[in-house]
Symmetry: C2
Subunit: 132 residues, 2 copies
């Protein structure tokens, strides 16, 4: 039998923080934010819980194009856009989820269970703020 889960203050704070925002922060952004209410929370605890919550289906771990991992409070798979300048990640409202996985399944030797799409470019903010 699996170990009983205990919902600690810090686990709930991390989940809550992620659910309450619509961007897709990295572990240390979450860390900085949660620290405002639980000042002595450990960075390890943040990583541990983000991994746990993703495993548990409460949140989404967004495969990073480079650098660090990003997390999404919305656990339903969807596509993302990453700004190559500031590194921010946002949602893209296109849904080809079952279609593309199916298409690939017919072409690949093996079993295709899903896919991710990461769009890239320059976000609106970085595009307008083109100093230099």
């Amino acid at each position: 039998m699996q170990p009983k889960v205990k919902y600690s203050r810090q686990r709930l704070a991390i989940l809550n923080e992620l659910k309450s925002r619509c961007d897709h922060p990295t572990a240390d952004v979450i860390y900085a934010e949660v620290r405002k209410t639980i000042p002595n929370i450990s960075l390890g605890t943040v990583y541990r819980n983000l991994a746990f919550l993703a495993q548990n289906g409460d949140i989404l771990k967004i495969p990073a194009t480079m650098g660090s991992e990003h997390f999404d409070g919305n656990p339903v798979p969807h596509y993302h856009f990453k700004c190559n300048v500031c590194g921010s990640v946002s949602d893209v409202a296109i849904d080809l989820m079952p279609t593309l996985t199916e298409m690939a399944g017919k072409l690949v030797d093996g079993v295709v269970t899903g896919h991710t799409i990461m769009f890239e470019g320059k976000c609106g903010l970085c595009d307008s703020t083109c100093r230099k």
Copy 2:
């Protein structure tokens, strides 16, 4: 003016190794292989040259879903499939390259310059060899 490029023995060996194989190895696989002909080549040299060659458009750097970066001797952008069991990466012959980027461009605030798709699942080899 830009510095003149010198094509060293090790740079050519790395490029050649990547061009001659149809899988998509990581830096240390390349390192192990090139070491057979240039035994004292440095791992740093492999990383440096893979970055250089990708920048130069000779090869493709495949954004890793997790763990380490993979490289592709084919510099023309295309889609990939990653086995969650053995970690191998292979090609997927679907091409939605301009279409999807365009679609996203209409939905995102900013400029979308491209995208990557990573399919995931279990490759044919790992699927048949399903011991335990």
